[in-house]
Subunit: 211 residues, 2 copies
């Protein structure tokens, strides 16, 4: 499956998945595109279009089977398995991420925490001990880490990313405010909270200008 | 300006702005679409298309004046002014956001911090004292808060958002893992770190399937 799926579709799949899980908890067996649309704040046509990227689901007039669609979306998003994740940079971002209620339940398992701060190395985070950047490559290889959460200062990020990729990492959730240069087969998802604030101030500003 | 600008365009504008600021620091006076494209990891045609939403910039063969384009993008994004921001939920997410090097320099000024935890109320965060949710509406009104960072548990988020909107808030950076229901003139930007991880695991999974 090499065609390009829009980022907005993937984001909506994540929302549909949460809706389907809620429905299942409430004992729902089937769901219509209209219901999924309402919960995902989109249109029924968009729901059908999003799902059509991945095959044919549901029957006209009967809707989708909640459990079947849920399992299928889990498979599409790759959350039907366990991902070994390493956190590079044991600061507040990392701590916040692990507080997210669905981080662990989604199959993301933090198996290593690395920080260059001597004062942090050796301290415990839950079951884990913070490790030195010297151990980065061996930890990734030995523990089969495929995903890293990169939460280090901008000036360190590129070098750390390169070492992680060399050790076998395939995806990076990047909090450092730089554009990482990595081979095209490595997926980087940038998180920049200030840029997300800019999207809010943009929307407010444009509305005011338009008024 | 009421036409809809794609979210990906706004995101790239944020990247262009950072590139222009770097260029200016290095003494650059003009920049071509090609250079902006390279720094923003896109194409020159996309740069021109993104900017064309907002008017006509640059001269064929001469490129853009760095300072002029920088100021213009600042204006478009609404970061040519100060935004009074309230942080609702004084946890790790909020702390992490304030650590971002460009939060303050972008004109986002945190003027209030609110938390319902009695142990936190009254404690100091830099110059500010954590306040009770009872003061939410008066703080927003008195301090002219237009933007809030909502970092409270899911079950509290909708109620807090409604009270904030009633007090005059126009934009919300929402970390709570729910879809807020707010009037259409209020812009909500959702940040869900686990969903962003899902985008990474999706990309890895689809590549593996396609291989």
């Amino acid at each position: 499956m090499t065609r390009r799926i829009p980022a907005s579709t993937i984001r909506r799949l994540s929302h549909y998945l949460r809706s389907l899980e809620d429905l299942e908890r409430d004992g729902g067996e089937t769901v219509s595109s209209e219901e999924l649309a309402e919960r995902g704040q989109t249109t029924a046509a968009q729901v059908r279009k999003d799902l059509s990227h991945f095959g044919s689901f549901g029957k006209r007039g009967l809707g989708y089977k909640v459990e079947v669609l849920r399992d299928y979306i889990r498979e599409i998003l790759g959350v039907d398995r366990i991902w070994n994740v390493a956190l590079i940079g044991a600061g507040r971002i990392g701590a916040a991420l692990f507080e997210y209620p669905d981080f662990g339940s989604r199959g993301y398992k933090c198996v290593a925490i690395i920080d260059s701060d001597q004062a942090k190395i050796g301290t415990r985070w839950g079951d884990l001990q913070v490790r030195s950047p010297d151990d980065l490559q061996s930890l990734i290889t030995d523990l089969g880490v495929e995903l890293i959460v990169l939460a280090v200062p901008a000036q360190a990020a590129q070098e750390v990313a390169e070492r992680a990729v060399k050790a076998g990492v395939k995806g990076i959730l990047n909090f450092a405010p730089i554009r990482l240069k990595v081979p095209s087969e490595v997926h980087v998802e940038d998180v920049n909270l200030v840029m997300q604030l800019e999207a809010v101030s943009f929307a407010i500003t444009q509305r005011t200008v338009g008024a």
